[in-house]
């Protein structure tokens, strides 16, 4: 059997029991490699449970900087007997199994095409610590120490991470360092050849991380809301979005507390449900505060009546949808991009909504702040379509950036002075030709500018109406406004192939890192594609131009029904035959292997057809 050998290019997966304290040790493992200048991308695979069910942490180490999930496991750290069989089966041939050998396993529990390293961690911990909690916690740290020896991770880097984590808590620091050292020395003495097989996976210090930061998308979204000036947040807990509101609370307490009075320049309400959440931000948006809610698919379903009201009555609000596997409770702790249609066309009647599609935490930050501006500018709901893969995993990304010269775009709000000066105020009148009317805020002027907001038809001056003419004027204006939106939203990013090609691919959101890697693999196999990364709906003209310029376009997305493709066909009237579905929807993050494989298969299939010349 040939053992896998790789430097700075492998995948380690930790199989743990939920609630066993493994999360922080696992994070330390990933972070120590980052500190050595080698990019990593970790992913939590967790159950809908608080304690006892299996949970995994998959770390891809890639000096090349590929941050998408790779697929396949080179080393399994199997700490959970419940999932033993499935964990062992997942190891690549020639890979490594690290396990707790306190209790002997029968030979039949292993494979003969993998190398096995057993460490009696439980036994060691039981011998060292009396306290059961300590036994459990330090078990994870000892494993970390042993792995650092086996994979050449610099233990002093881990120690300095401990130093940061336990600053001022000397006793905790010391005991953690001691456990780490115990793991290291056990590995040096017992887990190296000839007692154990040589591990061919290595981490070598490099300089490939640069100034990038390591942050969860949800934390970045929350920061975007803080920087973007959101003052009202209403939410109802739901995985994977809750940490957006929790992080918003945390950052507001850091940045938004009046130094003199201790009073808050923000209001967060944990509402009784998602209907109330969106009701609260509808009221706040109507009354001129920047407001957002965060939720996931089931919450979007509940919010739809209000979304229609906000669309029709033209109320600014921001909805962060951290997507998970649907429909219904679906796969609540797995990722998907499956709320696109439900969001783009949310509510009854003719409705269309603005969606922003961040690819990573840095864009979560930018899009959240942009959404607050766009909502005010367009006076409409704006969705930030994140997902579990981006939202709940720490991801390496560009540092967050803010220009102090930037001003909030509060949109067309008529002031008391403008009213006083005799400016005509027709709440639903298109005076500027962009479909966006002017609004006034309650309390502005004693006698001018008051109007009645309703979800019922009204004329351009907000007077109740049952006339078809008034209705069509309004809904056609809303369409015009939507066209205006296309030019204001984040524009798509084109990445041209290294040579001229008639093949293209369209992708968005968390598919991004896997696509970067897939494009390179495809190019190496002589399949060249121009790639367009969508960043928003409605689609700017560049999207149609891109499709027109190619014979075949692969639309890559993480849902069953090709929802983005449906939007493209529906909104751009393009020939559906041109758009090939590439769909990944099992709840795991899409991989480069999957994308390259699917596209290669399609391209080969195309090549044998008469259309060959067209795609050559």
């Amino acid at each position: 059997m040939k053992r896998l050998e790789a430097v700075n290019d492998f995948v380690v997966k930790f199989a743990n029991v939920n609630g066993s304290g493994s999360a922080s040790a696992n994070e330390l493992f990933a972070k120590s490699i980052l500190r050595m200048g080698v990019p990593v991308s970790p992913r939590n695979i967790f159950p809908s449970n608080i304690q006892g069910l299996p949970t995994w942490y998959e770390v891809r180490v890639s000096e090349r900087g590929w941050l998408g999930r790779r697929g396949g496991i080179d080393m399994m750290v199997a700490m959970n007997p419940q999932t033993w069989d499935q964990d062992v089966a997942e190891i690549e041939p020639g890979g490594y199994l690290f396990y707790d050998s306190t209790r002997p396993m029968p030979a039949s529990a292993f494979r003969n095409d993998i190398a096995v390293i057993g460490m009696p961690v439980t036994a060691i911990c039981n011998a060292t610590y009396d306290d059961s909690r300590q036994r459990q916690l330090f078990k994870n740290i000892m494993v970390l120490g042993a792995l650092s020896v086996l994979l050449d991770v610099d233990a002093s880097v881990i120690e300095s991470l401990f130093g940061e984590q336990y600053r001022g808590k000397e006793r905790l620091l010391e005991s953690n360092v001691r456990a780490l050292h115990a793991g290291c020395s056990f590995a040096r003495d017992h887990l190296k050849p000839p007692q154990a097989p040589e591990v061919g996976l290595r981490v070598k210090a490099a300089d490939k991380v640069g100034d990038r930061i390591f942050i969860e998308g949800n934390a970045a979204t929350a920061l975007g809301c803080v920087y973007g000036g959101a003052t009202v947040c209403a939410w109802y807990p739901i995985t994977p979005s809750s940490s957006v509101a929790e992080a918003f609370d945390k950052y507001c307490r850091k940045f938004r507390v009046d130094a003199d009075t201790g009073e808050h320049k923000f209001a967060i309400v944990q509402a009784e449900d998602e209907i109330a959440s969106i009701g609260i931000i509808t009221g706040a948006g109507w009354n001129g505060a920047r407001a957002f809610t965060c939720t996931s698919g089931p919450g979007i379903s509940l919010m739809t009546e209000f979304i229609g009201l906000a669309y029709f009555a033209e109320i600014p609000l921001t909805i962060v949808d951290v997507q998970r596997g649907g429909p219904s409770t679906g796969m609540p702790t797995r990722t998907q991009q499956a709320d696109l249609l439900a969001s783009a066309y949310a509510s009854h009647g003719d409705t269309k909504h603005v969606l922003l599609l961040p690819q990573d935490p840095a864009e979560c930050f930018e899009h959240a702040a942009a959404a607050l501006d766009l909502a005010d500018r367009l006076q409409t709901p704006v969705f930030v379509m994140s997902d579990l893969d981006i939202g709940m995993n720490q991801r390496l990304c560009a540092p967050l950036a803010w220009d102090d010269a930037r001003r909030y775009d509060r949109g067309k709000v008529m002031s008391a002075a403008e009213l006083e000066a005799g400016k005509d105020f027709g709440r639903y009148k298109d005076v500027d030709g962009d479909g966006i009317p002017w609004r006034t805020l309650p309390g502005t002027h004693p006698s001018l500018g008051a109007y009645f907001t309703r979800g019922t038809t009204r004329d351009a001056y907000a007077r109740y109406s049952e006339s078809g003419k008034d209705y069509t004027y309004n809904v056609e204006r809303l369409l015009r406004k939507f066209e205006t939106a296309a030019a204001l939203v984040p524009q798509p990013i084109l990445r041209a192939a290294s040579r001229k090609t008639r093949l293209g691919t369209i992708y968005f959101g968390s598919t991004s890192p896997a696509m970067d890697e897939a494009l390179e693999a495809l190019a190496a196999a002589d399949i060249h594609l121009d790639a367009l990364r969508l960043r928003a709906f409605p689609f700017p003209d560049a999207v149609r131009d891109f499709i027109d310029a190619h014979d075949q376009v692969f639309v890559v997305e993480q849902n069953r029904d090709a929802q983005m493709r449906t939007l493209l066909v529906n909104e751009l009237d393009v020939d559906p035959a041109k758009l090939t579905r590439v769909l990944h929807f099992d709840g795991t993050p899409i991989t480069a292997r999957f994308i390259a494989g699917a596209i290669t298969k399609h391209v080969h299939a195309l090549a044998v057809e008469p259309r060959r010349e067209r795609i050559a």
Binding site: R212, E272, I275, I280, T282, A284, Y408, T453
Partner: protein, 351 residues
Amino acid sequence: MTYIARPKLHHPTLVRNKVGYTRRDYEGKISTLCAGCGHDSISAAIVQACWELDIEPHRVAKLSGIGCSSKTPDYFLGASHGFNTVHGRMPSVLTGANLANRDLLYLGVSGDGDSASIGLGQFAHAMRRGVRMVYIVENNGVYGLTKGQFSATADRGSKSKKGVVNADSPVDLIGMALQLGATYVARGFSGDKTQLVPLIEGAIGHGGAAFIDVISPCVAFNNHAGSTRSYDYVREHNDAVSRIDFIDLADEIKAEPSAGEVISLPQPDGTRMRLRKLHADYDPTDRIGAMNHVQAYQAQGEILTGLLYVDPEATDLHHGLNTVARPLNALTEADLCPGAAALTKLNGSLR
């Protein structure tokens, strides 16, 4: 329809209040409700209360759900911003509006279908949170706008216009408001404006969640014999526990003082409210006592009206959230954005 055309010009003799407005300035569009509908009387009481309290109309935000009752904000305070939201969800929209600007007066108008059926949850949670507002339910026991189906407040045994007897227990909004933490709880009757106007005035001056259940007969669908929400039935069974004599001590007396003990309660703006107790054994500042009293009378088929409970020291949601005194919607970049330097520092901690 009430087809009473109103003259556009203000009559010179119309009296101006302290802020310079006549009563006419507090009116709205012409009502499109049925002639005799109780809801129109409530609108008139709101107009009267706002005029008497010298409230500038544009400092009021009026919000409602959906229903005949919820249409009424279009028919009063024409110079105020109004928001006809979705069915049963006025409380959440009002909560958000209030969070955005704590300086306005929030007036929520709803129906019994709107608040006790589809919107029961939102009603309950707005009371729990202590949103500072005047929340009026125009309670007629039916869905007026959808043509006379029973609502959730219809009494068990009451008879619909078509002769159907209601078998379900009624939702008691007063009881719920008391239990859930509303700090001003009253019941009025649209047919008794002398009682209703001060009740609204007391609510406007209140520092927390004020709820007024106003029995408001629906002449089209629920004003027949056998109904417990008809004008006749309510007149016969109305028993007032208290009467607010006057809100502002410095000002004129609005009602003929009647018998009973007078208590004086502080209001958040520094004025005092004088309350005349009509039931001798009744203490309107005792929440548990109020709950018992209301339940006991209700069990006898009596409709207790008046100010049933008030906590003169009530606080509101902003107090609980510790928000700044300035309205959140007036904060600017300088207040809200931590700036590039803070972000650079934050980036540094994320490596």
